[in-house]
C-alpha cells in the first residue's frame, strides 16, 4: 500500500487546503475498494506492478487533482475571441511592420556598411522578443482585467441588436473615399502644373531650391499618375464596386507610384539651396542632409510600398474569390441579392 499512499500524497499536493483531507479520504477509500475487489476476483493479494497499473489507469496525480478544482480561466469564452482579434491586429499592424522595416534597414545597412548578417540577426533577436513579449503581455493583462470586470458587472451582456453595424460589403468602394481621392489628386495636379510646371528652380520667401534635372521625369510621371488616379476615382464614384479589372488597374497604378516615389528618395533631388544672408557652405550642408535623409528613409518607403502592393493584390484575390464563391454564383443564377 506504500504505492497508494505515495499516489495520494502526490494528489494531495495539488488540492485546495480546505478540501484536501476530505477528497483524499474519499479517493483513498475508492482506490482501496477497487484493489480489494480485484484481490477477491483473483483470490490473492495484488503485487506492486498490478497496483501500479490501477493507479496509472486513474491518471497523473496533477490531472486527478485538477478535476476537483473549480474551472478557472484567465480570459473567458466571452472575451477570448475579442482577445484573439486584438492580438491579430497587434501582429498585423505593429509586429509585422516592425519586422519588415527591420528587414529593410538591415538590407540597406548591409549594402552600405557591410554589417554581417549574423550580427544583424543577433540584434534583431535581442530587440524583437522583449518588444513582442511586452506587446502580447500587455494585451493579455488588459484582457485579464477586463475579464474580472466583465464577470462582476456583466457589461458584455448588455447589447442591442439594433445597434449592430450595417452589413458590410468588402467590395463596395465608399463614396467618401472616392470623393477624397478625386479632390486630393485634383489639388496635387493643380499644385504640380501651377507651381512645378517644367521648372527646376523653386522660390519660397527668400529661399531658392534648385532641383536636379531628373525632376522632369518625376514631374511627368507624377502628373500622369495623378490624372489616371483621378479618372479611376471618378469611375469608382459612379460605380462604387471593385471589379477585377479596376482592382488590377489600382495595383498597377500603385506599383508605378511606388517605384517613382522610391526612386525619388534615392535620386538626390535637391541640387542646391540658397537662402539670403546664409553662407553657401551652410546651405550646401542642408541640401546634402536632405538628400542623405531621403536616401536613408528609402527602406521604410520600400516597405510601405510593398504593404500597399500586398493590400492591392489581396483586393484582386478577394474580388476574384467572391465572384467564384458558390453562394454568389447561386445568387446570380437565381437573381437573388
Amino acid at each position: 500500500m506504500d504505492l497508494v499512499n505515495r499516489y495520494l500524497q502526490a494528489v494531495k499536493f495539488w488540492l485546495p487546503n480546505k478540501q484536501k483531507q476530505d477528497i483524499i479520504a474519499e479517493l483513498s477509500e475508492d482506490i482501496r475498494s477497487q484493489i480489494e475487489d480485484r484481490e477477491t476476483e483473483l483470490g490473492r493479494k495484488l503485487n506492486e506492478s498490478e497496483i501500479a497499473a490501477i493507479l496509472k489507469q486513474r491518471g497523473r496525480p496533477v490531472l486527478v487533482a485538477n478535476r476537483f478544482l473549480p474551472q478557472e480561466h484567465l480570459i473567458g469564452p466571452v472575451l477570448f475571441p475579442i482577445y484573439i482579434f486584438v492580438l491579430k491586429i497587434v501582429t498585423a499592424f505593429y509586429l509585422v511592420p516592425w519586422v519588415l522595416v527591420w528587414i529593410g534597414i538591415t538590407v540597406s545597412r548591409a549594402a552600405h556598411s557591410g554589417q554581417s548578417l549574423i550580427g544583424s540577426i543577433g540584434s534583431f533577436w535581442t530587440s524583437f522578443w522583449p518588444m513582442a513579449f511586452f506587446m502580447v503581455g500587455s494585451v493579455t493583462t488588459v484582457f485579464a482585467i477586463l475579464e474580472r470586470v466583465q464577470a462582476k458587472s456583466g457589461f458584455l451582456e448588455k447589447w442591442d441588436p439594433r445597434k449592430l453595424p450595417p452589413v458590410r460589403d468588402p467590395n463596395r468602394i465608399p463614396r467618401t473615399n472616392s470623393v477624397v481621392e478625386v479632390v486630393a489628386n485634383l489639388v496635387f495636379c493643380i499644385w504640380l502644373i501651377g507651381g512645378m510646371w517644367y521648372q527646376t528652380v523653386l522660390h519660397f520667401s527668400g529661399v531658392t531650391i534648385t532641383l536636379s534635372p531628373t525632376w522632369r521625369y518625376f514631374f511627368w510621371g507624377f502628373l500622369a499618375l495623378a490624372i489616371a488616379n483621378m479618372v479611376a476615382s471618378e469611375l469608382n464614384l459612379f460605380r462604387p464596386y471593385w471589379t477585377w479589372v479596376r482592382a488590377i488597374i489600382r495595383l498597377v497604378s500603385d506599383c508605378v507610384g511606388s517605384v517613382l516615389f522610391c526612386w525619388l528618395m534615392k535620386a538626390n533631388i535637391v541640387a542646391s539651396i540658397s537662402v539670403a544672408n546664409v553662407a553657401p557652405e551652410k546651405t550646401a550642408q542642408i541640401a546634402h542632409a536632405i538628400n542623405w535623409w531621403s536616401a536613408k528613409m528609402f527602406p521604410v518607403a520600400a516597405v510601405a510600398c510593398v504593404i500597399i502592393a500586398l493590400v492591392d493584390a489581396y483586393r484582386i484575390f478577394r474580388v476574384r474569390s467572391r465572384a467564384l464563391h458558390p453562394a454568389v454564383v447561386l445568387n446570380a443564377a437565381t437573381g437573388a441579392h
Binding site: E26, D30, L63
Partner: protein, 130 residues
C-alpha cells in the same frame, strides 16, 4: 437509417475519427450522467458502489469524473452526504436530497421530451432518405 449506419461504420475505422467519435460520445453522455447519478442515489450509496452500479448498467464512468460531479451536486444542494463507518472503514455515503428529487423529476420529463423529439426527427430522416 442506412446512411447513419454507413457513417458510424466509416467513423469507427478512421483513427482520427475515433477521437472525434469518442469526444462526441463523451459530450452526449455528460448530460445523461447527472440524471443517472441522481436516479441511482435514490438509494443511499458510497462512491465506489455507485460507480460499480453505473458500470454494471452500462454507464461506466471514471472516478475523476464521478467524484467531482458528486461534490458539485452536493454543493448545489441536490445531494446530501455523510461519513460513516462500514466494514471497519470510513466511507462517504451519498443520497439524493429533497431538492434533488424535484430536479430529477423535472429532468426526467425533459429527458423523455428529448427522446421523443429525437425519435420523431429520426423517423422523418428515415422517410426522407428512402
Amino acid at each position: 437509417m442506412h446512411d447513419t449506419v454507413c457513417l458510424v461504420h466509416y467513423m469507427s475505422h478512421g483513427t482520427e475519427n475515433d477521437g472525434l467519435l469518442e469526444n462526441l460520445r463523451l459530450e452526449l453522455r455528460r448530460g445523461c450522467l447527472v440524471l443517472a447519478v441522481l436516479a441511482e442515489l435514490r438509494t443511499e450509496q458510497y462512491g465506489y458502489t455507485l460507480r460499480k452500479g453505473l458500470a454494471d448498467r452500462g454507464l461506466a464512468v471514471d472516478e475523476g469524473t464521478l467524484y467531482p460531479l458528486l461534490r458539485r451536486l452536493e454543493s448545489q444542494g441536490l445531494l446530501a452526504s455523510e461519513w460513516r463507518e462500514e466494514d471497519k472503514r470510513n466511507k462517504r455515503f451519498y443520497k439524493i436530497s429533497r431538492d434533488g428529487k424535484l430536479v430529477l423529476k423535472q429532468l426526467l420529463v425533459e429527458w423523455q421530451g428529448i427522446g421523443l423529439s429525437l425519435e420523431e426527427i429520426l423517423k422523418e430522416s428515415d422517410h426522407g432518405s428512402r
